[in-house]
């Protein structure tokens, strides 16, 4: 996935000279995960910019850069370090179009690696998508595969609205697949039916899609697996139609549960597919605690077995 993202950036930068990349260590170093590797050499220090260590200013300046006609793709180094950006994101990036009645807009992308599973330090394993998804005016996009990563990042860079692009670092290198060299986009706002099925709908996004796929092998049921791809604004239609067909749903996420994206999915399903539901929508989520360090992390992040088990329970409800 790292490579796919890298190619997307390279292609968009080559195509559109207003696209610039900025963040901590994105230049010579190529980013701590090497997503921006080679960009500095190719496009120079004016378009691939190492900034001082100040996340709030990175996003704040990106807003100004966007006003000035650039298309900044800025990076937070890790999930936990996107939090100092929340004020500028919520107070400004998400609202500038609204506040100026369409006169100004924050055409920018904030990308960052998120989630656990890489045996990282504290504040390096969080899944904060709900904070962003709760914020009107932001788009929140999370790819689950290299193919999607490339196509969605291109769409994000071209999107006139501020896009929070979260990269599941656990599958940065774990999932390998051939990605077309040629330019393509994957549309923002559309969920992906990964596998069709008739017994139960399984909804997920990001790295957990991998665990969901693995769970398919552990369950005898015909599962329809939906990868949300865009967390907000959500493609509820695809989800609802699926559940209307299957009558059952499990939502899988890595993030803590309380007021999370899975809550929105469950609340929406029960509202819109009520009469089709044969069992309550089940949420398989992280717990409402800090995600533990690597030694205990495996208990926190649901694995394919836990997912398969929950599918079974919902089927047997």
């Amino acid at each position: 996935m790292v490579e796919a993202l890298n190619i997307a950036l390279k292609q968009e930068m080559a195509k559109d000279s207003s696209v610039i990349v900025l963040g901590e260590d994105v230049g010579k170093d190529g980013g701590v995960f090497r997503v921006t590797d080679g960009l500095w050499e190719k496009f120079g220090g004016e378009r691939v910019i190492d900034t001082p260590l100040a996340e709030s200013a990175i996003i704040g300046a990106s807003i100004g850069l966007a006003l000035g006609g650039m298309k900044p793709v800025c990076e937070a180094q890790f999930d936990g370090f996107s939090l100092p950006m929340l004020d500028q994101l919520i107070s400004h990036a998400s609202r500038i179009r609204w506040r100026s009645r369409g006169r100004f807009a924050a055409h920018l992308v904030l990308r960052f690696p998120y989630g656990g599973g890489i045996r990282a330090l504290e504040h390096h394993s969080d899944s904060p998508e709900a904070y962003y998804a709760h914020t009107p005016g932001l788009k929140v996009v999370i790819p689950s595969s290299p193919y999607d990563a490339k196509g969605l990042l291109v769409s994000a860079i071209r999107d006139p609205d501020p896009v929070v692009f979260m990269e599941p670092k656990r599958v940065y290198r774990a999932i390998r697949e051939d990605v077309p060299e040629t330019e393509y986009t994957v549309p923002i706002g559309k969920a992906n039916v990964v596998q069709e099925g008739s017994d139960i709908t399984l909804v997920s996004w990001g790295a957990m899609v991998r665990e969901c796929k693995e769970a398919l092998a552990l369950t005898p049921y015909s599962v329809e697996l939906i990868d949300l791809r865009t967390i907000s604004p959500m493609d509820t239609k695809t989800v609802i139609e699926s559940v209307k067909k299957t009558g059952r749903a499990v939502v899988v996420q890595e993030a803590p549960r309380n007021c999370s994206v899975s809550a929105e999915v469950a609340a929406t399903i029960q509202k819109e597919a009520f009469l089709s539901l044969k069992a309550p929508v089940k949420r398989v989520t992280g717990f409402d605690t800090v995600i533990p360090f690597a030694r205990m992390e495996g208990f926190y992040i649901a694995d394919e077995k836990r997912i398969a088990k929950e599918i079974e329970k919902v089927m047997k409800f």
Binding site: A54, A57, G60, A61, G68, I96, W98, R99, S100, A105
Partner: protein, 364 residues
């Protein structure tokens, strides 16, 4: 071994003292231009008085008065070129008006109607920033874009004394210094941040010296002296456009009114202090000067006031005759294109307003 690594200093600039006496080097501006400055200051004051009156009458909402800060407001406007961009906080109505922002739109903004912030296309002003200090990074980013595009355009950003305590101030100025960006930072030090006097905001003797932390120049100017403000900002704008980096300008001025119309300064501020500052009024001061130079007569003043009042009254009429927004306006600008989920919410709201219309109550 103990040695001195670096020495720094911070200067103060005044050109016109409170008696209207020239104490420094006058900027090279024509009398015509001085008269325009005076006129804009008067316009700002009349607008301000009108806004305060409208607020008392319930015709606009909470309003932040600029009284006493007209020189800082207007000096900057004149020091900027047409192509430069202004990033205001919420106490620069004067600057905005002088730079072409319609007064009626400003009233609309303060009058509970977000449509007032639809900045006209030919006006290089960014939306008013209410969260203190947050606009600084925007100005920095804009300047950065200009630098990258090799355009000779400066960003000029306003904030208060209280704003210097926020992290956004620090991060923004450090970015500007590091990348040598064409930004002019204007701190209107009006001595108060709501109820906090300047002395309690920071232990630093001046706010201008904070620039030392970022490796560029800071200067304090008499913020009630429009010539000092003009000179400092003009120099800074020139420097910015010549690629010589940012400048921090502390305009030492005073907030004559309450913080906003929701505030009551009597609770925390000594009335004597206000009386002292009254003597330093920026408009009176320029009037003294113009009188000496035979540029001011009672007739001129009367005609000017009359003209400006008419304009302001006209703006009030325009504001108050603006038809209300439609419901869709709530949803319209959240995204470039309205996503299905939002469209559904809009349709729901329309339905709901309809359904509940005849139930009596507060809505619709």
């Amino acid at each position: 071994m103990r040695k001195t690594l670096g020495k720094f200093s911070v200067d103060y600039l005044q050109i016109l003292d409170e008696h209207g006496v020239v104490t420094g080097v006058m900027p090279k501006i024509t009398n015509e231009r001085i008269r325009e400055m005076y006129e804009q200051m008067v316009r700002a004051r009349v607008f301000d008085e009108t806004a305060l009156k409208l607020q008392r009458e319930g015709r606009i909402g909470t309003y932040a008065s600029i009284r006493g800060q007209e020189a800082s407001n207007i000096g900057t406007a004149f020091a900027m070129d047409k192509e430069d961009w202004l990033f205001p906080s919420f106490r620069e109505d004067g600057t905005m008006i002088a730079r072409g922002f319609p007064m009626s739109a400003l009233l609309q903004y303060w009058g509970w109607d977000e449509r007032g912030m639809a900045v006209p296309q030919d006006v290089n002003i960014f939306t008013i920033a209410v969260p203190v200090s947050t606009q600084i990074a925007h100005a920095v980013g804009y300047a950065w874009a200009m630098k990258l595009q090799k355009k000779k355009v400066a960003s000029v950003v306003y904030f208060g004394d209280g704003a210097t305590s926020k992290g956004d101030f620090h991060e923004g100025l450090n970015f500007a210094g590091t990348f040598a960006l064409p930004v002019v930072f204007i701190c209107q030090n009006n001595q108060w941040s709501i109820s906090m006097p300047r002395s309690k905001q920071s232990a630093s003797e001046t706010l201008a010296q904070k620039a030392i932390a970022y490796g560029f120049e800071g200067i304090q100017v008499d913020g009630n002296d429009i010539f000092a403000v003009y000179t400092a900002v003009r120099d800074a704008v020139k420097k910015a456009k010549e690629g010589r980096g940012p400048t921090l300008i502390e305009c030492f001025t005073y907030r004559m009114s309450d913080h906003t119309t929701s505030d009551d300064a009597k609770k925390y501020r000594d009335a004597a202090e206000v009386v002292e500052w009254e003597k330093k009024d920026p408009i009176t001061r320029l009037r003294f000067y113009m009188k000496q130079k035979k540029m001011w007569t009672e007739t001129y003043e009367r005609e000017l006031l009359e003209r400006v009042r008419k304009e302001v009254d006209e703006a009030v009429r325009t504001y108050e005759s603006t038809p209300p927004a439609d419901i869709e306006d709530i949803f319209r600008y959240t995204y470039a294109e309205m996503p299905p989920a939002l469209r559904e919410q809009l349709e729901y709201l329309k339905r709901s307003v309809d359904e509940t219309k005849n139930m009596g109550g507060t809505n619709g």
